[in-house]
């Protein structure tokens, strides 16, 4: 049951965001002119291969990009109408963990090994909500219960190394959600987990998201994960968005050769194959990107015009867009 809310104002608006890293070897244009919106209560999937700039995009929302060598060279990020890039660091600290939260890929290393998971959740609660220790502890136990951790009143005093991978990731989620953020950025939250636990964690995310009316930016390379819970999806490649729109539209009729390549590379159980369907060629070196469309060297629909200028996002239909001059013939 999708929440139809496109008439509302978006909760998060990323406008023309460009993030570059200035290194000794050259400039890495990790994110280039990325624009996405996330509406209240929806899940946006940000999909792409390793190195396409999706994690950098997520980190930029919380201004966690290390400023040298990185720099937000262009664009703006509006949250609830407020520009996040114009905030003082002190104000940004109030946003982090409170209005916008983030969970990371490796729960083992994202939790401080010398503190119990209870300590870490309680810290977040006390920091943003000013409760006293007793109250905060009660809340923490409630959160752990909400993420379906068994015996939360005992588990709260466990150290990260005493928990399994799935439990740790749930603890991370509890920590991130303890202050009821409006937006959760989930950076590859299930990549480090095995498949059965993956499904459970995704299910959990979806349920909590519904309960809390929270928005989620789900960053992943796994189309299966996106298909499972996202409402809309943005496909990224070499720092750019190549296709963007509602999930049913893209999955049923994609309009970008890269998206098609991604879908096609997923092996089907029922198929008999000797070799995997890989997209020919390689992801370009971010310091030496090709001219024109960044995907053209690997694209089977490539024509001369593709090499000249980078195409804009063409509107396919309503809110479905594709950055390809041949989108009409595609797929």
């Amino acid at each position: 049951m999708k929440i139809e809310n496109f008439k509302n104002r978006p909760l998060l608006e990323v406008r023309d965001l460009s993030v570059h890293f200035f290194t000794e070897e050259g400039v890495v244009r990790a994110v280039e002119n990325v624009s996405v919106e996330i509406y209240p209560g929806e899940i946006l999937g940000l999909v792409g291969e390793s190195g396409c700039g999706k994690s950098v995009t997520g980190l930029s929302l919380l201004r966690l990009i290390p400023i040298p060598p990185g720099r937000i060279v262009n664009g703006d990020i509006l949250f609830d109408g407020r520009s996040l890039l114009n905030l003082e660091e002190k104000e940004m600290e109030k946003v982090r963990g409170n209005d916008i939260s983030m969970i990371f890929q490796e729960p083992m290393t994202s939790l401080n090994p010398v503190f119990t998971i209870g300590d870490q959740i309680i810290e977040a609660i006390i920091l943003h909500q000013g409760l006293d220790k007793k109250e905060a502890r009660k809340r923490a136990i409630e959160m752990l219960d909400r993420v379906r951790i068994p015996s939360p009143d005992k588990t709260i005093d466990s150290y990260p190394h005493q928990l399994s991978g799935g439990m740790r990731q749930r603890a991370m989620i509890a920590m991130a959600l303890s202050c009821q953020p409006k937006l959760l950025i989930a950076d590859e939250p299930t990549t480090a987990l095995d498949v059965t636990i993956q499904a459970q964690v995704l299910q959990l995310l979806k349920e909590i998201q519904r309960e809390m009316g929270m928005s989620v930016m789900l960053i992943t390379h796994d189309l299966g994960v996106v298909a499972e819970i996202a409402d809309r999806v943005a496909v990224m490649y070499a720092g750019r968005i190549l296709e963007y729109g509602p999930i049913e539209a893209i999955f049923s009729k994609m309009r970008n050769p890269y998206t098609r390549g991604l879908m096609g590379s997923i092996p089907q159980l029922t198929e008999k194959r000797n070799r995997l369907n890989a997209i020919p060629g390689q992801v370009p070196n971010p310091m030496d990107l090709p001219k024109g469309c960044k995907f053209h060297p690997r694209c089977d629909l490539m024509i001369e015009d593709c090499k000249k200028e980078e195409p804009p996002l063409f509107q396919v239909n309503g809110d479905h867009f594709s950055r390809c001059i041949r989108w009409q013939e595609c797929c």
């Binding site: 946003v95 982090r96 963990g97 409170n98 983030m102 990371f104 810290e123 150290y159 991130a176």
Partner: protein
């Protein structure tokens, strides 16, 4: 955390010398703590008729040139040595942790600036610097502790900086930042507990150095002033009688040797037990 402590103890136990050092330190501590109960005589009571008596069942370590019982004086002297050692090192680790943490966490110009400052401090021959300061400001116990403290923090700061340089890249630091935790809290509450292991080592070894420096200062007359007993000044007063009353130099010398050796053994034992174990873990 608990399993780290268990593996550490397991490795530490196997090092006999380190355990010996630790035991000896506990003994010295005990002696220093109970000095007023164990001491058979008043360390300051002079009786010239009893002067320069050799060790006997009555005066375990003999008497000095003023008839004072050497054993009792040595017991009280242990208090001086240990207290100077610990207070001086406490001061030096506070400074060392502050400098190292700030340099390691913030990097760039703060790091360069602080490390150049460390290099400058390292250029001073510390014993002579301490000697000069104490000679100028007066040899009070407080002065000695402070001066030793502010000239021996550099080693600790380098280790702490190294720990911070690696720990600040860890995911849990980014996760803490993503929760909005402020920098000073991240440094002291999140990163520091993970990076304290080398500080235990440098602190222990620094106590050994501090005890030696205090003994040296007292020996030269710039440390604890007579009649207050310090192993260093008992030693120096005993120099005049070295051929006639060997007990006045041998015993304080031995005490200094054993104490410094014990701290060194403990420190090295800590380093071996902590180093491959805790460093290698994630």
């Amino acid at each position: 955390m608990e399993s780290q402590a268990k593996t550490f103890w397991h490795y530490f136990k196997r090092n006999r010398l380190a355990v010996g050092g630790m035991t000896m330190i506990l003994v010295i501590f005990f002696i220093a703590g109970t000095a007023s109960f164990i001491a058979p005589y008043d360390p300051g009571k002079t009786d010239v008729s009893l002067k320069l008596k050799p060790p006997s069942s009555q005066y375990y370590l003999g008497t000095d040139q003023l008839g004072r019982d050497v054993f009792s004086r040595m017991l009280y002297g242990s208090r001086i040595s240990l207290s100077v050692g610990f207070v001086a090192v406490a001061i030096s680790i506070i400074i060392g942790i502050l400098v190292g943490a700030l340099a390691g966490y913030y990097g760039r110009w703060i790091d360069s600036f602080l490390m150049r400052f460390v290099d400058i401090m390292l250029c001073f021959p510390s014993f002579f610097l301490i000697l000069t300061v104490v000679a100028l400001l007066g040899p009070s116990l407080f002065n000695i502790m402070v001066v030793i403290g502010i000239t021996s923090w550099m080693g600790t700061s380098r280790f702490v900086r190294a720990e911070f340089l690696s720990l600040r890249e860890r995911d849990f630091v980014q996760a803490a930042k993503a929760l909005g935790v402020k920098d000073h809290r991240i440094i002291f509450r999140h990163i520091l507990p993970n990076g304290l292991a080398p500080v235990f080592v440098t602190a222990t070894l620094d106590v050994a150095t501090a005890v030696l420096v205090e003994a040296g200062l007292s020996f030269l007359g710039f440390g604890v002033q007579p009649p207050a007993p310090s192993w260093g000044n008992i030693l120096t007063e005993g120099r005049t009688y070295i051929f006639d009353a060997w007990w006045l130099t041998v015993f304080p010398g031995l005490a200094i040797l054993v104490t410094v050796l014990s701290f060194n053994l403990l420190g090295e034992g800590l380093r071996d037990a902590l180093d491959p174990r805790l460093r290698g873990r994630r």
